[in-house]
Amino acid sequence: MQQILPYIINGISVGGQYALIAIGYTLVYGILRLINFAHGDVFMVAGLVMVYSTTAMPMYVALPLVLVATVLLGFVIERAAYKPLRSAPRMSVMISAIGVSYLIQNLSFYITGGVPQPVTTPIPWISENVALLGTSTKRVTLVTPVLTIALVIALVYLINHTKIGMAMRAAAKDFETAQLMGVKINAVISMTFVIGSFLAAVGSMLYFTNYPSVAITSGGMPGLKAFVAAVFGGIGSIPGAVVGAFIIGLCEEIIKGLGYTTFSDAFTFALLIVVLCVKPTGLFGEKVTDKV
């Protein structure tokens, strides 16, 4: 038990971080049927903003600023790069997403000079070490899953019990009909991106509290894995994304613990392919039938 405990704690923490990103994927996919390839980069930008703002201003200004900036970025990306393509084929939108990701990376690259930016002033309290059952870990490791679950509960409440939430559910069910029924579809989509980016920003703050620097490629892998988590849990389903993320986080760390470190990333993708082939709707996904 003492042997595997650190792996499990770590796995849950990693899973929590993936979960916060995965929700962004799953929300957007649920409504637009779009894999938002730029989401991982939004996550990375949030990290960069955090690095810059925490060095320049006090924590109580800097952290809200990170949230606002990230949310704004998500909003702008949607308006600028996805909205004009609303009636275009799905492939065009996906290409646009890849283009946005490329642009964000190159822009960040230009601004940072291609050098990882060190996290010089980490968020206090959660970046401190604590002892837990004989191992030591940063407090953020323990905070992450708790905060993740709290946020998810809030989100589920928002979706099930508020007007905008209802509109989101309607849009996810049937985009066109919802539009005909008077749902302001653009507002709903913007809201989706705002929520997704907000959660990514929170995830980013937690994630980069654990790590010493933000590199422009930092968003890529967590982004892809969070996406895999979303697919694994059943894309479009929020509980699915969260459960999927925790499972992937755990599996990954356990695989490392077993000594197959070479394949810890590859495993995630193998899992993805297997899930897609065996049960394309994932753990909690709804079955969609095509009309002929």
Binding site: I35, I98, Y110, V231, F269, L276, P280
Partner: protein, 370 residues
């Protein structure tokens, strides 16, 4: 019918001029010259972009596994062509590796030095292509049933898995693990690249204009109708996937020739994205567009726009703005503009010969309008 003839002559003339230009470049400039280098790289990218277009543009299968197939091709080429004498030093951590022969040397024995080496190199490329095609067949069995974006993400994942395998030390005696493969023969001139890629692309063009290519386009336009008209979806999708991967594999081998060293690291999803964006710039569904875009993209990113990174561009000196990475920012902004505002890309779905009949068609339309 004369218009067809005219088009053929036009196309042939343009291609001949381009080939001649390439030969002239080779004769006047040394092999290490930047122009030769970028022509080589652009040619390789053209081939890969066209192979991707065959799949994404003509068959409507959104696959992002190109980098994985290129990886296979590149490694096959390197592993099979490194001279036996150099294997000990290349595979320094793996006792000279498990493979103790080199195709160019085997062929040299039978055909003489020059011819044999070239034949061996081509054979190695071919093996790379075939390996990629085989892998595509295996991957295609489960993956091709998936729909657009799921297919994209599954193929992307597959490419990542493949990369991990090639870096795995247990396979080191063959792949050299994480270490570079090098010292294999390459072409120092650009013309062989152009001719090779040209032949491959010509084959793809012929295929696209054959009955099979038409079937691919039917699948892209409307799968249900295609199936109802007797086109076997899974067979044709698999065929497109395999053929595209075959050429991506050969493209990977040529990429290896260009790079001079092989490692798995360059064959990341970024490479696939780059090629996808090139296809989009050129116009999804246009071979000419893909080639054109490859050349424009590589020429500008590797050569013409370098000034944007080093402070001075077109005579304007602004070190504060023109610093490292600005080149890629400019390029990606241009790409986004194309994606958003010129969705058809440079060429739309037009090909080189179609450039001839642009004007008359427009006039006709105007006349009809009046």
């Amino acid at each position: 019918m004369t218009s067809t003839k005219k088009k053929t002559i036009f196309t042939a003339a343009v291609l001949l001029i381009l080939l001649a230009a390439c030969v002239v470049v080779d004769l006047t400039l040394p092999g290490y010259h930047i122009v030769v280098t970028v022509i080589k790289k652009a040619t390789v990218y053209s081939l890969v972009a066209v192979s991707m277009n065959l799949l994404n543009g003509f068959t409507g299968l959104f696959s992002l596994g190109q980098a994985g197939f290129m990886l296979l091709g590149a490694y096959a080429y390197g592993v099979l062509t490194i001279p036996v004498a150099k294997r000990a030093s290349v595979y320094q951590y793996f006792d000279g590796g498990a493979i103790k022969f080199s195709l160019p040397e085997i062929f040299s024995g039978a055909l003489g030095d020059t011819v044999g080496t070239v034949a061996g190199m081509l054979a190695a490329l071919l093996v790379g292509g075939i390996l990629a095609a085989l892998m595509a067949y295996l991957i295609g069995l489960p993956v091709l049933r998936l729909k657009s974006d799921y297919l994209a993400i599954a193929t992307l994942g597959f490419a990542e898995i493949l990369r991990a395998f090639f870096q795995w030390n247990t396979l080191g005696p063959i792949t050299n693990g994480s270490n570079l493969l090098k010292s294999y023969p390459t072409f120092s001139h650009a013309t062989p690249y152009v001719i090779l890629a040209g032949l491959m692309i010509a084959f793809i063009v012929l295929l696209i204009n054959s009955t099979y290519g038409r079937a691919f386009k039917a699948i892209r336009d409307d799968e249900v109708a295609a199936e109802a008209m007797g086109i076997n979806l899974s067979k044709h999708k698999r065929m497109a996937f395999i053929i595209s991967s075959f050429f991506a594999g050969i493209g990977g081998g040529m990429m290896a020739m260009y790079m001079g060293t092989i490692a798995a690291a360059p064959f990341k999803s970024t490479l696939t994205y780059e090629i996808l964006l090139i296809v989009v710039i050129g116009g999804i569904g246009s071979i000419t567009g893909s080639i054109l875009a490859s050349f424009l993209y590589i020429f500008s990113s590797e050569w013409l726009l370098r000034g944007l990174d080093s402070g001075k561009f077109l005579g304007i000196s602004a070190p504060a703005i023109f610093k490292n990475g600005f080149r890629m920012v400019v390029l990606s902004v241009v790409i986004m503009c194309i994606v958003l505002f010129f969705r058809r890309g440079l060429m739309g779905d037009k090909e080189l010969p179609d450039l001839l009949d642009r004007r008359p068609k427009k006039r006709k339309k105007e006349a009809a309008g009046k």
